[in-house]
Amino acid sequence: MKLKQLESLLGDLQQFENPKVELEQYPTGPHIASRMLYTAENSFGDVSNKVVADFGCGCGTLGVAAALLGAEHVVGLDIDSQSLDIASQNAEDLELDINFVQCDIRNLGWRGQVVDTVVMNPPFGTRKKGADMDFLSVALKIASQAVYSLHKTTTRDHVKRAALRDFNASSAEVLCELRYDVRQLYKFHKKKEVDIAVDLWRFVPQKGQGKGI
């Protein structure tokens, strides 16, 4: 599938009706999501024929993108049941067979070794400090091949240090810098549209890591 085609399919997905500020529910735009998964597939072979988990899947954009690019099994995990309803509707509309699990990533019970790749657009931790690092820590415990994630560019050094030192990643690489346009979703947003610089990261877990939690 071409990048343009992927982006256009993702652009048609339903997004949050009433986003919840405490969960930092910002939709992953089709531009970013398509590039993230397209890169994972075409530069690294981390998607097609793989088991892919989408952490904090929200309305399922990244998981849908993975399924469209040929992932054999996709699981979307989110704490919010309304998001999961929209996500499963999105999957159904595209006739994709995606599994969803309602859970809190921070106290997830998961047997390791089976998931190849985790993709995620974690809460950036602006509301709940450290939320993005919690997600990353868990992702590196269950992925056997790679973790793709978005983090604010301003946190680049911190993310790298945490991944390599605290979470035992064997590599942590910024693949590109993207602009995340956060539309005025919430009342506290003063400007109509705000561009946030985010990094697209690829983390590789240590061999033998990914044993689960």
Partner: protein
């Protein structure tokens, strides 16, 4: 929910030492056909907890998986087709997943298990 997902999920309630595998309580099961992918199955075979898959598939009413396996079975298309069916095509749609240690019920609605823990379980 496919049984492949079931093969990864475990109960993470505070104090539980082995929350895997979760037992299945089935109100409604469905089957959805998916393409047969030999390479994927071979790759999965070494990662799957076989007994958990066999027990889960039997609970779903599918009894064709053997108790014992050996690597040579991967050369048999007949075996791979059964494995494929159990792993990817059987879905728990309505029911529950039960913690093997505490019998706590995690409900499954519209194929989505709710694994959220209560405050006193974290």
């Amino acid at each position: 929910m496919r049984l492949l997902t079931h093969n990864m999920l475990s109960s993470n309630i505070k104090g539980v030492t082995n929350g895997f595998p979760l037992r299945l309580e089935i109100e409604k099961a469905v089957e959805k056909q998916v393409d047969f992918n030999v390479d994927f199955l071979k790759n999965m075979f070494v990662k799957i907890e076989w007994k958990a898959l066999v027990d889960a598939s039997r609970a779903m009413g599918y009894v064709d998986l053997p108790d014992q396996t050996e690597p040579s079975m991967l050369d048999s298309d007949e075996f791979l087709k059964k494995f494929h069916h159990a792993l990817l095509e059987l879905h728990l749609e309505e029911g529950a997943l039960i913690c093997p240690e505490t019998d706590r019920r995690f409900p499954v609605n519209k194929g989505i298990p709710n694994m959220l823990l209560h405050e006193d379980e974290v």
